[in-house]
């Protein structure tokens, strides 16, 4: 297996008396979208700043692309900070050329890319306009273009969706999904659970500077949901709860409303059970009953056992 694109090992940071990050450890596998989740003040931005080498951790290690981060690695990373700005008096193109130059791109290399990108984010007509003439949403798109212009292998986005309208949110989301499709890795922090749920393959939930939950999102949900499924059949008279409980892998079956809740043994695959069931039932609906991320988030943060 390839080494993770990003790895944090027991990273700590204290400001004065306040421990902002208390021993954070996680791995970001290559080619995934990784969500760093947590409530406000959980230490997400501090963690990201340490990933970006903007502030140095008091202790612990940050490994990027499988080794201790070097100066050159930063050029393979695209970073969109939470608090972000642009030079108000510069034109969109000049600004992007400048951001490209800071990542080692020559003007003639970056110009065609800039034209392409502006087209993609619907700003083609705005290239020669000054930043101050753009709306906030447009500025955010320019910032995103500035982040991806040098085609980094790792994108680090701190709250990328705040302040975006639904259309631009979905534009951003599509861009990120496209990025993953091309084998690149994305790390994003957010407290918007719905978006994280749709986007992320892996998550790390931090609260008060500590990791409370980390891993593959699907596995987490299955674990927290207790590997439960809901079943609906065309003819409820067919249902025999005892018969269901005899199916290998099903531990318990209970009726709930017009449906049946099936509790599977922890390592049993739902698909296998479904194949059994269709042998003797007219299955109309069979779906995994996973808690949504919001529930997990609230439960984890409020200290409930996870």
């Amino acid at each position: 297996m390839t080494s993770p694109t990003l790895e944090l090992r027991d990273v700590r940071k204290t400001y004065g008396d306040v421990a902002a990050v208390r021993g954070v450890t996680f791995e970001v596998p290559a080619g995934t979208i990784f969500g760093l989740l947590g409530p406000n003040g959980a230490g997400k931005t501090t963690t990201i700043r340490m990933i970006m080498d903007i502030i140095a951790p008091d202790s612990g290690e940050v490994l990027v692309f499988g080794h201790r981060r070097t100066r050159e690695d930063l050029r393979r990373i695209g970073y969109l900070p939470e608090e972000r700005g642009l030079y108000r008096k510069m034109t969109v193109i000049d600004q992007l050329v400048y951001l490209g130059e800071l990542r080692g791109l020559k003007r003639r290399e970056s110009l065609p890319r800039i034209v392409d990108w502006l087209e993609r984010v619907d700003l083609a007509a705005w290239g020669k306009r000054k930043i101050e003439e753009l709306s906030k949403g447009m500025q955010q798109k320019v910032q995103l273009v500035g982040t991806v212009l040098h085609e980094p292998d790792l994108l680090v986005l701190d709250e990328p969706f705040t302040g975006l309208d639904p259309i631009n949110q979905s534009l951003f989301r599509d861009l990120l999904l496209d990025y993953r499709r091309r084998g690149k890795t994305v790390v994003l922090s957010t407290h918007g659970m719905l978006l994280a749920e749709k986007l992320c393959d892996h998550i790390c939930l931090i609260s008060a500077g500590e990791v409370v939950l980390a891993g593959e999102l699907r596995a987490i949900r299955r674990r927290l949901g207790g590997n439960a499924y809901r079943l609906r059949v065309a003819n409820p008279q067919q249902l025999d709860l005892d018969r269901l409980a005899e199916v290998p892998g099903i531990e318990r079956a209970v009726t709930e409303d017009s449906m049946v809740k099936l509790l599977l043994a922890p390592d049993v695959d739902g698909g296998r059970v479904l194949r059994e069931l269709v042998g003797f039932l007219d299955v109309e609906e069979f779906r995994s009953e996973e808690p949504d991320l919001e529930e997990i988030f609230i439960k984890a943060v409020s200290g409930a056992a996870v």
């Binding site: 700043r49 970006m52 903007i54 502030i55 100066r71 930063l74 050029r75 990373i77 970073y79 969109l80 900070p81 939470e82 608090e83 972000r84 700005g85 642009l86 030079y87 108000r88 008096k89 510069m90 400048y98 951001l99 130059e101 800071l102 990542r103 910032q143 500035g146």
Partner: protein
Amino acid sequence: MRPSDAYVVGKREYLVRIKGWGFWVATFGLPLFMAAMMAVPALLMTRGHTAHRLALVDTTGELAGPLRERLASAEREGARVVDFDLRVLPPGPDAAAQRARLDRMALAGEIDAWIWLDEEDLGRGRFEYHSESVSSWLTQEVLQGVVSEVVAAWRLRRAGFDTEKIAELTRGVDLRTVKVSEGGSSAEGGFGGVVLAIFLFTILYAVLILYGTQVMQGVLEEKTSRIVEVMTSAVRPLELMLGKLVGICCVGLTQVAIWIATAVLLTAPGVFALRSILPAGLNVPSFTPGLVLHFLALFLIGFFLFATLYAMVGAATNNMQEAQHLASFAIVFLVAPMFFFMQVINDPDGRLAVVTSMIPFFMPLVMMLRIAVKTPPMWQLAVAYTLAIVTTCGLVWVCARVYRVGILMYGKRPTLAELWRWVRYA
């Protein structure tokens, strides 16, 4: 440290400013403004005033003629700042009535003032000047000088001396200044040297304040608009700061180069345009290559000394108001030499000049004055330059640390103790 990143940052800082209209307004506006400040009051005083209408009653009968002649000859020489339109009135039989009539004329605006010369008063060493306004001190001083001269000649004549002989014998002598330098002695106006010193001093002062403030504004702009967050992922704070300083420094150098080139052209031998508008007898000092080199070196030292202070202020504060308040502490060092620059020019090797030119924060401005007037001893130059350069390097180091922490800190303005902690942190 990646110099290429600092270069990219510096290039942007330079181009953005050079392309802005503000730069060109300052480049051409400031010299015009300075020239106007010097020329306009002089022009207004020499040409803009109306003649002072003066009525004269001379009871001696011997002074009116010489006085009229003296005033006319002074006018011919063109060296006066006040013109008189003299009206001589014969003394009337009733002095009190005549004086009352003269007062009425002054009140009615027919004359500006009247003077009364009689033997008794002059014997006591005085004469009377009556006017609605007695605050025109310049007019009075000129008048007093002319009357004194005429009265003195009159007294001598009455005592039986040959006045022409006396005038010949008591003629004053002019001081002809010759500047002695390594390259040989050259006749040069003493006043010209002072003008040069003040010119260079003022330019240096103006650019240090101008560009120091620009650095502060630049840092603050990046901080308040949160651009710095984007920048810090690609550039180290040290590179960002150095790039900014060097970029803005080059803008200043460009401006100064334009000014100096213009001044060198205008003062070069054979350029008559400037000479013809200057008073005769004033030698225009020329810019020697050594002087230009010193100016550039002092600009560089001064710029990095003050710009780093300004950058630190920008990084440590949250808005322009806070920054300006804190920056006033830096400006004190720049303004202080304004209070003693005349003493330095007058005695460039005096204790005040030597001591202040050794203090790094005063060094660029004070040394500029000293060098323009008289080349200081080699050892003093060496010590002053060394101290200033070492201080500048130290300050850049401290500033880089404050900057690194400060640009990402928002909220309350840090106390001195916190600033010190930032320096130790980084």
